[in-house]
C-alpha cells in the first residue's frame, strides 16, 4: 500500500525583514498612515454628528486653541507635560526596560511638591520653598522608579508588571493624603493650595513675563535638549544603547549592567518626578489621584512612536495634545461625551502602530505560484 504524500504548496506570499528604510520613505509611510487614520476618524465624526465638515474643522480648532487663540498657552502646556513624561520614559525604553509606571512616578513627584507647599509654607522663605519642592519632587519620583529597577537588576523581576502595579499604589497613597489634607473638610479634594490669605501663592512657580505656563514649557524644552545630548553623545547614553541591544554584549565589553539599569531608572523616575512638580506647583496648584491624567501611558506610545528621538517626540506630543483638546471641543459643541477624544486618539495610534510593519518588513509575492494560479483559473 502506498502512502499518499501530502501535497505541500508554497505560500503565495511571504514576509521578509527589511534591512533598513530610507528616512524619507519611512516618513512617507507614517504620513500615509496618519492620513488614513484621519480619514477613518472623519468618517466616524460625520456619522456621529450632523455637522458639516467645515463646522467640524472649526470646532476642533476652537477646542484646541480656544476662541481666537486664548487657550493656545494651555495647549502648549499640555503638550509640554506629555513631552516631559515621554522624555522621562525614553532612557528606560532604550534600555528595553518597560517603564509603564510613569503615571505613579509623576504622582509621587507631585505629591512631594504638594506636601512641601502645605507643610512648609511660612516656615521657610518662598525661594527656598520652591527649591525644596523641586528637590523633593524629583527625589520622590526617582524613588518610585528605582524600586522596580533594584528588583529587576538583582532578581530579574518582571518590570512591566511591577511598574504597572506601582502606579496604583501611588494613586492610593495620593488619595490617602487628599483625605488627610482635604479642604474644605469632607469635600474629598484638596482644592487650590495656598490660593489666598497669609500664604498666598506660596510655593507656586513664578509666572515669567506674564505668560501662563511659560516657565514650565521652558523647563521641559531644556530637559528635551539635555535628554538628546545625554542619549546621543554621553558615555552613559551609549551604555544604555548597548544594554538595550544585548545584555550579553554589554557584559562582555565590561559594562556593569545592574548599575546601568538602576542608574537609568533613577533618571527616568527623576524626570517623571519633575513632571509631577511642574503639574502641581506650576499648573494645577492642587493634587488628586488623576493629576497625571493617563499621560504616563500615552507617553509610552509617544516615546515609542518617535523612535526615542526627543525632537520628534515634541512634535508627536503636540499633535496628540492638539487632537485631544480639539476632539474635546468637538464633543462639547455637538453635545457629545468628551471621551470622543480617546476614540480618535486610539484609532490614530492603531494606524501608526500598524504602519511600523511596513517599515520593518516587506511582502514578497511568489510570482510563479501567483501566475500559476492565474493560469489555472483561466483554464477552468
Amino acid at each position: 500500500m502506498m502512502k499518499t504524500e501530502k501535497k505541500v504548496q508554497e505560500p503565495i506570499f511571504h514576509v521578509v525583514k527589511k534591512d533598513g528604510v530610507v528616512l524619507w520613505r519611512a516618513w512617507l509611510i507614517r504620513a500615509a498612515a496618519i492620513v488614513l487614520a484621519l480619514l477613518v476618524c472623519a468618517l466616524l465624526i460625520l456619522v456621529m454628528t450632523d455637522q458639516t465638515p467645515v463646522e467640524v474643522f472649526e470646532s476642533i480648532f476652537e477646542g484646541a486653541i480656544g476662541v481666537r487663540g486664548v487657550n493656545v498657552m494651555a495647549l502648549f502646556q499640555s503638550a509640554a507635560m506629555l513631552l516631559c513624561i515621554s522624555l522621562a520614559v525614553t532612557p528606560a525604553f532604550k534600555m528595553k526596560f518597560w517603564n509603564i509606571g510613569a503615571e505613579g512616578q509623576v504622582l509621587m513627584g507631585g505629591l512631594a511638591a504638594a506636601a512641601c507647599m502645605i507643610c512648609l509654607r511660612g516656615v521657610v522663605p518662598n525661594g527656598v520653598l520652591i527649591l525644596l519642592i523641586f528637590v523633593t519632587g524629583v527625589l520622590a519620583g526617582m524613588l518610585w522608579g528605582v524600586i522596580p529597577a533594584l528588583f529587576k537588576a538583582q532578581w530579574g523581576t518582571n518590570e512591566t508588571l511591577f511598574t504597572l502595579m506601582m502606579n496604583y499604589a501611588a494613586m492610593q497613597i495620593v488619595s490617602f493624603f487628599v483625605v488627610k489634607w482635604e479642604n474644605p473638610k469632607n469635600s474629598g479634594k484638596i482644592g487650590i493650595i495656598n490660593q489666598r490669605g497669609e500664604f498666598k501663592q506660596a510655593g507656586w512657580l513664578p509666572e515669567l513675563f506674564d505668560v501662563d505656563y511659560l516657565l514650565n514649557i521652558l523647563i521641559v524644552l531644556a530637559v528635551m535638549i539635555l535628554a538628546w545630548v545625554y542619549l546621543k553623545y554621553s558615555k552613559q547614553g551609549f551604555e544604555i544603547t548597548v544594554v538595550g541591544e544585548s545584555e550579553n554584549t554589554a557584559r562582555y565589553v565590561g559594562i556593569n549592567v545592574k548599575k546601568v539599569i538602576i542608574r537609568t531608572m533613577a533618571i527616568s523616575g527623576a524626570i517623571c518626578g519633575l513632571a509631577g512638580v511642574l503639574l502641581v506647583a506650576g499648573t494645577h496648584h492642587t493634587i488628586a489621584a488623576n493629576t497625571a491624567g493617563g499621560n504616563g501611558f500615552t507617553a509610552v506610545m509617544v516615546s515609542w512612536l518617535a523612535k526615542f528621538n526627543p525632537f520628534v517626540m515634541a512634535g508627536v506630543s503636540f499633535f496628540i495634545a492638539f487632537l485631544e483638546k480639539g476632539a474635546g471641543g468637538l464633543a462639547t459643541n455637538t453635545g457629545l461625551n468628551a471621551s470622543f477624544a480617546d476614540i480618535i486618539i486610539g484609532i490614530l495610534l492603531f494606524f501608526i502602530i500598524g504602519c511600523e510593519f511596513f517599515l520593518n518588513y516587506r511582502i514578497v509575492v511568489n510570482k510563479q505560484r501567483f501566475s500559476g494560479r492565474l493560469k489555472q483559473k483561466g483554464g477552468e
Partner: protein, 330 residues
C-alpha cells in the same frame, strides 16, 4: 455567631467584587499563555460592558414584548462580539503586523475606555428617544435572577446560590481553561507557543493560529467581566467613573498573583475582591480607606518579587511573553 454573620455579610460581597476580576484574569491567562501580554484588558472590559449595554438598550427600548431568552442572549452576544473585535484588533497588530505588545495594548486600553465612556455618556443622546439615562430595568433583573430556592437553603443558599448566572459561568470558564491548559493536547501546544514559538513552529504547530485564537477567546472571556460588572454589579447602568478600568488592571495583577493558573485565580479573585471592600467591614476611619485599597496591588508586587527570587520554573511567566514571533528571525 458574630463571626458567621460577618462571613455571611462579607463573603458574598467579596465574590461579587471578584467575579469581574476572575473573568479578566482567566482571559488574560489564556492570552499570556500564547505569549501575548495584552495590556488592553481594561479597554476590552470597557467594550465588553458597553456592548452588552448597547445590545440590551436597543432590545429593551424597541422590543414590543421581551422574550426572556433573548433578554439575556442579546447583551451576551453583543458583549462577546465587542470584546472579540477588540482582541482581534490587538491580535492583528501584534501577531500579523508584529507591533510592540505593550504599545498596542495601551493603545487598546485608551481606545476601549474612550468607546465605553463615549457611548455610556452619549448613547441616550444619539438614539434620542427621550430617556434621560441608560437604565436597563428589565435586562438587569434577568441577569441578576438567582435560583428560586436559594432563599430556602439558609446560610448555604446565601453564600453559594445567591448570584446571577454569570458568576457561576465565570467559575466554570476558569475551571475549563485550567483543564484545557493542563490536560489537553491543545493546551500543551498553546503553552509551547508561549514558551518558545520557534520550537513550537518546528514541531509543526501553527503558531499564528494558536496566538490568534487564544488572544481572541481570552479577550471575549475578559469582556464578560465587563458585562457582569454593568449588568449585575451596576444593575444595568453606566457610570463614567473609571471603576471598570481599575478592575481591568487589578485583573492583570491577579494573573501574576495566580501564577498563571486559572483555578488559583478563582480563590485569588475572592481574596482580591475581599481586600477591595475590606475597609467597609473592619470599621476603619475614612482616611485610611485608600491604604486598604492599596492592598491588592502591594500583595501582587510581593508575589511578583517572591516568584522572581525563588525562580521555581513552573511559576514563571511564559518565556516568550511580550515578544513578537517572526519565523525568519532566529
Amino acid at each position: 455567631m458574630a463571626f458567621l454573620s460577618f462571613i455571611l455579610r462579607f463573603l458574598p460581597r467579596a465574590v461579587t467584587q471578584g467575579i469581574p476580576l476572575l473573568y479578566g484574569c482567566t482571559g488574560e491567562i489564556l492570552t499570556e499563555k500564547s505569549g501575548n501580554l495584552n495590556l488592553g484588558i481594561p479597554g476590552i472590559m470597557y467594550v465588553g460592558g458597553i456592548s452588552g449595554i448597547i445590545g440590551g438598550f436597543f432590545y429593551e427600548t424597541y422590543a414590543a414584548e421581551m422574550n426572556p431568552v433573548l433578554t439575556i442572549l442579546i447583551p451576551f452576544v453583543c458583549s462577546l462580539l465587542g470584546s472579540g473585535l477588540m482582541a482581534l484588533i490587538y491580535s492583528f497588530l501584534t501577531i500579523t503586523l508584529r507591533a510592540n505588545q505593550n504599545v498596542a495594548g495601551l493603545a487598546l486600553t485608551i481606545f476601549g475606555e474612550g468607546v465605553g465612556n463615549f457611548f455610556g455618556g452619549s448613547l441616550v443622546k444619539l438614539v434620542n428617544n427621550g430617556s434621560a439615562e441608560i437604565k436597563l430595568n428589565k435586562t438587569n433583573v434577568a441577569f441578576r435572577q438567582v435560583l428560586p430556592f436559594a432563599k430556602d437553603w439558609g446560610w448555604f443558599g446565601e453564600l453559594f446560590l445567591n448570584y446571577g448566572f454569570l458568576a457561576y459561568l465565570a467559575i466554570l470558564v476558569a475551571v475549563a481553561v485550567a483543564l484545557v491548559l493542563k490536560r489537553t493536547k491543545t493546551g500543551l501546544n498553546l503553552r509551547a507557543v508561549g514558551e518558545n514559538p520557534a520550537t513550537a513552529d518546528a514541531a509543526g504547530i501553527n503558531v499564528t493560529r494558536y496566538k490568534y485564537v487564544a488572544t481572541c477567546v481570552g479577550g471575549m472571556i475578559a469582556g464578560l467581566g465587563g458585562l457582569y460588572y454593568v449588568m449585575d454589579y451596576q444593575m444595568g447602568t453606566w457610570a463614567n467613573d473609571g471603576a471598570l478600568g481599575a478592575r481591568g488592571w487589578l485583573a492583570i495583577a491577579l494573573v501574576i498573583f495566580a501564577l498563571w493558573k486559572p483555578h488559583v485565580g478563582i480563590i485569588g479573585s475572592v481574596l482580591f475582591g475581599g481586600l477591595y471592600i475590606l475597609y467597609n467591614y473592619v470599621g476603619v476611619a475614612r482616611n485610611i480607606e485608600p491604604l486598604f485599597n492599596m492592598l491588592p496591588y502591594v500583595v501582587t508586587i510581593v508575589v511578583l518579587i517572591i516568584t522572581s527570587i525563588r525562580k521555581k520554573r513552573e511559576n514563571q511567566p511564559p518565556a516568550s511573553l511580550g515578544l513578537a514571533y517572526f519565523r525568519e528571525e532566529r
